[in-house]
Amino acid sequence: MCAPLVLSHDGGMTEAPSREPAAPPRVLRRSSEGRFLMGVCAGLARHTGIDPVVFRVGFVILLFGSGIGLFLYIAAYLLMKEPSGRPGLIEQWTHRDFDADTVMALLTAVLALGLGINLSTVWLDTGTLVAGLFLAVALLAAHAHGVDLMKLARSMPERLNRRPAPSDLDVPAGQERVTDFPPPPSPPVTPQPSPRTSEQPAAERPAATAAHASVPPETREEPLRPYGVQEEDAPGAPGHDGRTRVAPAYEPAEPAEPADPAEPPVSPAPAEPEPITYSQGGYGTGGYDAHERPFAPHGPYQPLDPAKRTTWSPYDPALYDPARFAPPPAPRPVRPRQPRSFIGAITILLATIIGGIIVAVQAASPSGVQPTVVGGAVLVTLGAGLLIAAWWGKGAGLVAAGTMVALLIGVGLMFGGLPAKVGSSVWVPTTIEETRQVFDVGVGDGELDLTELTLKPGSTLEVDVAVTLGTLEIVVPPDTRLEVHATNKVGDIQVDQSLRGGVDVKLDKVLEPDVKPEGEPATIVLNIEGGVGDVEVRRGA
């Protein structure tokens, strides 16, 4: 692989600086910096600007959640370029060149394939949910970053058929390459002692070529340019067959012999640079100047223009320039600012009012406020508002509000069920009938005084008490036998002089009467279900 060569003003042979594509496609390469295993997550993080821990956690969740993580990691390792920028393994095997979007799309396809396999084999399970969730998150993230998924999918055949740049592949010395791709992105310039040559036979060269060889070397002191591309890309130039023309920029070096043996060799004669003149023809007519360059009336020839390359394709996303080759895009219609919608505010206000009404009604009832009913009613109201917003838009805030309410209900269910009520409670039952309920404190402080009860001698009374969050104090008559079965998730349970605390506390205790009653003592069985807080059972006066 040779870099383009030109003659310097001192007659020496130097290489022209390498060419870069007008819009070099972004590449996704593994990273050797900060890597754990193969540098996949570090490379993804470097490419997306997201912390690599996010990708590592994602791969681990996918690995243990569904097993797809392993295959996804392997696919990423195979698809991503090496940290040095060399092609990845699959690119080497298939002689293709994948840009970053292509690799990301292929990884998404692998994830979707894994989800499909999960769905077809076990239908719905944890792995399916995990894979589906990650797929949805990936698509949402891509969409949020402005990726046109449909356009990307349509361009996939073109992307998958992209050939690598010549500098990315190892070609044996002396072997010519048939190229149909743009020049490589800036390989390092190295001194090249071999003189330039052309693959064309000398007899077939046009007169301009012969003239070129006879031009004094000082006239070649110009901005360095890719020499071969000029020949290749010029319309009407010899050998301009569209795709199979060998790019002379990467031809192996040959001895610099003049095309015509009769021509004098180029001699390193130092002289003043001469202005470049375009001797014949014009652009589009196949004309060339004395230096074999196409006629360029508007300044120096720009070989970096993708449109002038024989490999240019309007469907190649890396080279596509809609400003030049596509019909002028219709001016993006300026969307009139949508009128402000009050659906979200009205719905939230309505949900608050409905929740408040339910709280007020239930607070007056003996059973107290039931947060389950309140939360459910608020959720239904928000859902109804969203149905209206579906036709008039601006429902994102309601989605967030409904999600928060549902999450709160879920958290409430997670911590020992939803509290039945909120606030302080004091119960002083005087009859047996009043004790036939669950004394549920819910959230707050509760006191149950059983000293006013009149119990028959030898009878047994069972009382159920519960608290979700807060303290509970139970006062029992001193002349009764007490049987306590108490549990508490977090906190203390104190029964008379016995104290037990911690997490998941359980206490079963039987206390004989402090004061001996007349006749057989009555028995009170206390079933206490505590949540977070303290529970105390003590004797009354």
Partner: protein, 72 residues
Amino acid sequence: MWRSAVARDLERPRRVHRTDWMALLSGILFIVLGILIMTRSITDPLVLLPVLVTGLGFAGLVSIISRVFRSK
């Protein structure tokens, strides 16, 4: 594609709003969940939270797909 998009827009000039699939599906999800919670049909958070997440994810996916097709 450009021409077809223009033609399609011209065919439907009276369209003044587009269905927000995310809002529609999320609304249905919230209504169903609210009813199930009020009737104590759902008392396990391990049922409620996955249904919520899956439902919202499905709604988002449908919304994305609809936007992709509209942008064609």
